[in-house]
Symmetry: C2
Subunit: 102 residues, 2 copies
């Protein structure tokens, strides 16, 4: 199990577009057997700053995610809307240690 | 509902101490009625970089958390172990929209 945390900075004029595309990606990703969470958060102070919280069963599940139609459609749309490159930090889980909590 | 995401940079010689103290804080926080998640993650690339993913019912629940013994004990221990000030970003939730998912 691992969690990828992605910070995305979106141009102000594309925030609504980004929200719609990312909710679609959320919905698709949650159907993947290797996905446990795909939370989409918006900074309370900066509406152009988003955080994607992506819990996957394994690195193989991440690779499978990156081949899905919903991910590829999302990527093809959002790249042009980003104010700067997105940042990805991969994490191991310390707590909760119980897989059932994921 | 809101999610506070805290990034903590820990001095190498205090990583084990930080892990123990933060797991205790996790356990205590998950007993709070206004807390929905308190995930503790460690960067896969930098073992001194941690992310706390704290989902609360409301800002009032956050304020109540900051008065608990487990939080105050954690704060009193970890401040000296940080390599630099921790970063907190508060978020509103875009997805999942269903409160039951939290």
């Amino acid at each position: 199990m691992l969690v990828n945390v992605v910070t995305v900075y979106v141009k102000p004029e594309h925030i609504a577009d980004f929200l719609a595309a990312t909710v679609d990606n959320h919905t698709g990703t949650r159907t993947e057997p290797g996905n446990h969470r795909f939370d989409v958060l918006q900074s309370a102070e900066d509406p152009g700053r988003f955080l994607l919280y992506e819990a996957f069963e394994s690195q193989d599940a991440v690779e499978a995610h990156r081949k899905t139609a919903h991910y590829l459609v999302w990527r093809s749309k959002v790249d042009a809307w980003m104010a700067k490159p997105r940042e990805l930090v991969s994490h191991r889980i310390v707590a909760p240690a119980d897989p059932a909590a994921w």
